[in-house]
Subunit: 225 residues, 2 copies
């Protein structure tokens, strides 16, 4: 369902070229649960942004359900992204002037749910991440880990085919983090494809497959178990 | 050197009162290395903001080097904070329009260092957190863990008496995180007082003392070793 072929992405800093993703080959079948691990700065988020159609590779091919999505323009990327992908950002990117509930409702309304249905579904997922009682808070009125959980609820609320989560437990204590990963496992058992970037070994082990990034290069990792 | 006596801080949300810090008593001697642990939403960052003179308690007393700093106004807080405290924020708070090097230089220039001395000292600390080669990048041109390390370098660069670090390794892989904690240990051996909020057990164990927060209440934890 996801296929990256010889994918490269670089950033130009004056004279210097930084190759964040270096001729990467990667395949994910529908329903897989994959962890991406690797040192800080190794290219994980850059890779995930390309997978999530938030960024475009410089060369190589990205096939999504066998459709070539490598060179779509912004609007085309947005259409597919909104239809198929739920993204948990490393820095959350919550809308600062609306509350937690409204933040989770945004993609639902965009998907055509009524205000009433969107509210119901948003509260369902806020409950799943243990945030009932905090839904009226603005992002700045939430703790770091609460903001992270709003970002997670928002990514999950439209039941996307593919969940891409960049460090989804980075701001959470181990118990709350484990609850989030159990939720992810349940969704995976229900058929959703999940790719998680993580620095946390206990999170990486939840996946059935681990891939590693080093200096932009991707290798299949050792068995997480 | 730090003494909190019966400290309380609440937030008002319409009808509801959220008591983030609940009658907390806490003492830290000069040169201690303390970890604060506890679940997401338990009040750790709120407590640290009060310690760092970024927020004011509703009741109780805060003595810093036996001086009552509880009810200082913003300017008075800023003077003491800039003189004595290095703060690593949970969400980094880098200035977005200047690069990594300039971000680390800001407090040094504020402290009266010349541009040349500030640059030298900033590069010294960027080297300590392994970021040489990235100093010309704007925050948005850095990975999550690189941004975190700029925030750490900035907090350390003025050799503050007290280092308050809110989840300083949250975005780092375990190897990079361990390097940061070794740096913290060295500074502690040099006499700096360090308080770290962390969700990472291996980080908490580096401290000689662990305190726990639950629903705004602080208790002395079990021995980290
Ligand atoms: N817009 C940009 N311009 C220049 N360099 C960039 C840009 N974005 C990322 N980089 C560089 O590309 C490399 C990979 O960044 P990326 O964010 O993918 O790393 P990461 O593996 O997610 O790291 P972390 O674990 O710290 O989040 C880093 O060295 C970073 O400095
Ligand atoms: N400005 C605010 N207005 C209302 N409630 C707030 C505000 N800031 C924090 N809170 C609430 O106070 C409680 C404590 O927040 P705090 O940020 O101190 O938690 P924390 O222990 O740092 O959590 P985390 O580990 O997730 O970062 C949370 O339940 C949060 O929702
Ligand atoms: Mg990243
Ligand atoms: Mg916090």
């Amino acid at each position: 369902m996801i296929q990256l072929i010889d994918l490269t992405k670089s950033f130009q800093m004056g004279e210097e070229t930084i190759t964040a993703v270096n001729h990467v080959n990667f395949q994910a079948e529908k329903g897989e649960f994959i962890s991406i691990v690797g040192p800080s700065g190794s290219g994980k988020s850059t890779l995930m942004n390309i997978l999530g159609l938030l960024d475009t590779a410089d060369s190589g091919t990205y096939l999504l359900n066998q459709e070539d999505v490598t060179t779509l323009n912004d609007n085309q990327q947005a259409v597919i992204r909104n239809a198929k992908i739920g993204f948990v950002f490393q820095s959350f990117h919550l809308l600062p002037r609306i509350n937690a509930l409204e933040n989770v409702m945004v993609p639902l309304l965009y998907h055509g749910y009524s205000e009433k249905q969107a509210k119901e579904k948003a509260l369902f997922y806020l409950d799943k991440v243990n945030l009932l009682g905090r839904e009226k808070h603005l992002p700045k009125q939430l703790s770091g880990g609460q903001q992270q959980r709003v970002a997670i609820a928002r990514a999950l609320s439209c039941d996307p085919e593919i969940i891409l989560a960049d460090e989804p437990t980075g701001a959470l204590d181990s118990k709350t983090g484990a609850e989030i990963m159990e939720l992810m496992e349940q969704l995976n058992e229900g058929g959703q494809t999940i790719v998680v970037i993580t620095h946390d070994v206990s999170v990486a082990k939840r996946a059935r497959r681990v891939v590693e990034m080093h200096d932009g290069n991707l290798t299949e990792g050792k068995d997480p178990q």
